[in-house]
């Protein structure tokens, strides 16, 4: 009952977030002041005639007041119609769904790799000899401060151009996803490992760990069976950060590795001032964000039984 209520509230709040996102993006794009009709007709170079401009303006409803355009846009968005792309001249929803899979698989593999690596590294390095710790946290610091494109370029140089192990671009075949995944995951691994290790070290000091040891548990069992679950709580809290890094990273990584995907679509759409496309992608990101946060919220109660009563 309370759980149902909580989900309902979160969903309602999620709708609010989506609305705000769309509105902000809409306003921002109309503040730029460029004439979208010119964009639709292929830019200044195409030198469209006055009649063409008037025709297209009417066809896209751009002759109406901004408030009406906004209301129309909202109304259609609620019904799942994100409008026509100015540049590609196909519905935005179709363009997005064509590009969605490569990005989702990239984000998914990067999430798996980063969580797995971070947990493993934190478990291995927490409360170990000082030199292991300082080596590990030094490497983490360097990686987490390196911008994604630098990291990606380095990976390309090493594994594609020098060693020739992996392809440097493309979207087809599993080989093409390895380097982008690493470029996307490594900065996240670095941050997560630091947080998890700190958390594990705090937890390994607690009395119930001593009790567990006094029962005859091995170090591995203590870490995996008792400490890890506690350390996963801050990991959940950071999931918003992880998602934001993945999305932001995807834009850069897809461009760098010439991959298909939402990130690249976004970059191109922004460059072309393709307003419906940018709005559509923004909305999609917000939607995923809301869903991820809802799932995380529910996971808290699964991981930590003490959370159940709290709203």
């Amino acid at each position: 009952m309370t759980l149902f209520k909580r989900i309902a509230w979160r969903l309602l709040a999620g709708v609010g977030v989506l609305w705000c996102t769309v509105t902000l993006a809409f306003v921002a794009f109309h503040l730029i002041g460029d004439d979208p009709v010119v964009t639709i007709l292929g830019g200044e170079d195409a030198q469209p005639s006055k009649e063409m401009i008037a025709l297209v303006r009417k066809e896209y409803g751009l002759d109406r007041p901004l408030s009406v355009q906004y209301a129309q846009y909202l109304w259609r968005a609620v019904h799942g119609d994100l409008g026509q792309s100015y540049r590609l001249h196909i519905p935005v929803a179709r363009a997005i769904s064509q590009q969605l899979m490569p990005t989702l698989s990239l984000m998914f593999s990067a999430t798996l790799v980063s969580v797995f690596l971070a947990v493993a590294l934190a478990l291995l390095t927490a409360k170990r000899a000082p030199w292991i710790r300082s080596f590990s946290s030094g490497v983490e610091l360097v990686i987490s401060s390196a911008p994604a494109f630098v990291l990606g370029t380095l990976l390309l140089l090493a594994f594609s151009f020098q060693l020739n192990w992996l392809p440097s671009f493309g979207t087809s075949g599993w080989e093409t996803i390895v380097l982008p995944t690493l470029a996307l995951a490594l900065p996240i691994v670095a941050v997560l490992t630091q947080v998890l290790r700190q958390e594990l070290e705090d937890i390994l000091e607690l009395p119930f760990i001593v009790t567990a040891r006094a029962r005859g548990l091995s170090e591995t069992r203590v870490r995996l069976g008792h400490a890890l679950r506690h350390a996963l709580i801050p990991l959940l809290t950071l999931s918003g950060f992880i998602f934001a890094s993945l999305l932001g990273g995807a834009v850069i990584v897809e461009t760098l590795f010439s991959r298909q995907g939402i990130g690249r679509l976004m970059v191109e759409a922004t460059g072309n001032k393709d307003v419906p496309m940018v709005l559509g992608i923004t909305e999609l990101s917000a939607l995923i964000y809301v869903v991820v946060n809802l799932i995380v919220d529910l996971l808290y109660a699964v991981v930590d039984p003490r959370v159940k009563g709290a709203v």
């Binding site: 029962r215 008792h226 039984p305």
Partner: protein, 590 residues
């Protein structure tokens, strides 16, 4: 110092087979420790500086001493858990003839939990909060045993029942935070004895428990010892020790300063430190009240002097199974100016919830609390904020109520900020004044909580509570986590401050001795209901409710003190019998 007359009942309770083992043909001791030293890093002074003792099966040795004396380090060393930085040396450290000094970690793991059970001090923190109680208790069976899953589950239920946990099937599925302190402590013991260890080490097993639960846990430990388990009890509570131990070793600064049969040591302490420990114990447990309480009539004549007035407050919480549980039910009381009201009851009786409602941290479902005649609990939290300073609180564990990064100056300065004292110089001046009230000097201003002793922390907590010039001081078990000698000092300080500052005080405790000493009136709670209330001397001398009588009887006590309140003869054995009858759940089958 009061003379302590000992009536030792344990001889009677020990079974015949144990009595045999004390005949001249003794078997080799289970634990042999000779000249054990423990050192951390390269510090000059070792934490344990060469101690020796032995322990036989069916025998109980008590390690007594104040915190920091090395008791806990000693006990951890016996299970090889003194820590990675500890350097352990000894002429001899043996378990049943096996040398423990040279064994590897893998061999230790076969000993821990299987041959030596270890009960940690802090029962709340010692159970993994993310696991069910049943899973925690089953863990040693999983590690060491050859039982399958179904057998383990059956064994867990059996263990929980054997330590006196009612409804073991339900409790096994609950999480530690859903259990009261007493149940957690018993679950922890159940986990430690799951594999039937030869030695049970219990570090302050009853310190955080109230009298009735304490008596049950002691009874449980006694029955284990009678089942031929060797036992090492660590405690600063001489009353507990006198009830349970055959022999006692007094530790001071990492050394055993005195060791011998319990009767001899308590009756005829040789070492100065032992004498001072006993003196401190009798001060807390038997001291005279230092000021006369106002009589009921005097108090009643000043009706307008009500500071807090609770009217039929009720609080209900939802249970995990969807039903709800009434934790506080229709509780009413008044607290008058300059009066101390003691609230007594075992864990789970609703004391804490009641306190939270009085502090305005929890809203009652029905009824209301009035502060100086004005409604308090119905105010919005913004409106409460301006009144908050009038009620200040001191907790059992001040450490966790301090920000560890704050210095003492910062901690108290922040509280002064509440009443608008903002100038740096003025704050410092007032802080020093407050510290003088709690008898601390300005030299501790730059220290952080971790650098303070337990007593100093509680003093700082008191100074912080006094900073906003409160009218009511709520004390939640303010001394139960402290050593007995420090307890005495803090209680004396509280009494003195109350008198000087004209404070009203709500004193929540499970320690009846302390409540008796400090309160004017007392209110006894059980299962969320007030079963009895009235003048403290009246109630302690002539308890009307059966539960109050039970609580009074259950105090383990140094045997000499029973005559203090009444002529009741309530030594350990009669308590045990009564408890057994009243609870009907304490069947110990091991």
């Amino acid at each position: 110092m009061s003379t302590i007359v000992l009536k030792k009942d344990s001889q009677k309770l020990i079974g015949p087979e144990v009595a045999c083992s004390r005949s001249p043909q003794l078997p080799p001791p289970l634990i042999e420790v000779e000249n054990l030293s423990v050192r951390f890093g390269h510090r000059d002074r070792p934490v344990i500086g060469g101690i020796s003792f032995t322990l036989r099966r069916g025998e109980c040795l008590a390690l007594v001493g104040e915190s920091g004396s090395g008791k806990s380090v000693t006990s951890r060393t016996l299970v090889g858990l003194a820590g990675p930085r500890a350097e352990v040396t000894a002429n001899r450290l043996r378990l049943d003839g096996e040398d423990l000094l040279s064994i590897r970690e893998a061999a230790w793991r076969k000993i821990r939990g299987r041959r030596i059970g270890f009960v940690m001090q802090d029962a709340l923190g010692s159970l993994d909060p993310l696991r069910t109680v049943g899973r925690e208790v089953a863990e040693p069976l999983l590690i060491h045993g050859a039982l399958n899953r179904a057998q383990r589950e059956a064994k867990v239920i059996e263990l929980l029942r054997s330590v006196g946990i009612p409804e073991p099937e339900l409790r096994a599925l609950q999480y530690p935070h859903q259990l009261s302190g007493g149940l957690r402590q018993r679950a922890l013991i159940a986990s430690a004895i799951a594999c039937g260890p030869e030695l049970l080490i219990a570090d302050e097993p009853t310190t955080a428990l109230d009298a009735a639960v304490q008596a049950q846990v002691l009874l449980l430990l006694e029955s284990l010892r009678n089942a031929n388990t060797a036992m090492l009890i660590i405690s600063h509570d001489l009353a507990v020790v006198s009830r349970l131990a055959d022999r006692v070793a007094v530790m001071h600064q990492g050394l055993i300063v005195e060791q011998g049969p319990i009767d001899e040591v308590l009756q005829n302490p040789q070492h100065v430190y032992t004498q001072s420990l006993l003196a401190a114990a009798s001060y807390v447990h038997g001291g005279n009240r230092r000021w006369a309480p106002t009589t009921m009539n005097e108090v009643l004549s000043n009706k307008d002097e009500f500071v807090i007035n609770a009217d039929n407050v009720t609080k209900t919480f939802p249970n995990p199974d969807g039903k709800s549980r009434t934790v506080v039910e229709r509780v009413s009381f008044v607290l008058r100016r300059k009066e101390t009201l003691g609230i007594v009851g075992e864990s789970g009786s609703g004391k804490t919830t009641l306190m939270r409602m009085i502090l305005g941290l929890e809203k009652p479902d029905a009824g209301a609390v009035y502060l100086r005649g004005n409604s308090w609990t119905s105010l919005s939290s913004a409106a409460q904020r301006s009144e908050r300073r009038r009620i200040q609180v001191i907790f059992q564990d001040p450490f966790s109520s301090f920000d560890p990064r704050y210095t003492v100056e910062h901690v108290i300065g922040e509280a002064l900020g509440v009443i608008g004292i903002s100038g740096r110089k003025e704050r410092r001046q007032q802080t020093i004044e407050l510290l003088r009230w709690v008898r601390l000097d300005a030299s501790i201003l730059p220290r952080r909580p971790i650098e303070l002793s337990g007593g100093q922390r509680q003093r700082v907590a008191i100074a912080r509570a006094l900073a906003p010039r409160p009218e009511v001081l709520v004390c939640d078990e303010p001394v139960s986590a402290l050593d007995v000698s420090v307890q005495a000092q803090i209680l004396e300080l509280l009494e003195d401050l109350k008198e000087r500052l004209g404070l009203s005080c709500l004193f929540i405790s499970h320690d009846l001795d302390i409540v008796h000493r400090i309160s004017d009136r007392v209110m006894v709670m059980k299962d969320g209901v007030v079963v009895e209330s009235g003048d403290v001397r009246e109630i302690f001398a002539r308890p009307r409710h059966e539960y109050t009588r039970l609580l009074l009887d259950a105090i383990p006590g140094l045997p000499a003190k029973t005559s203090r309140w009444s002529a009741q003869d309530s030594h350990a054995e009669s308590t045990a019998t009564k408890l057994e009858q009243s609870e009907g759940v304490l069947e110990v089958q091991l």
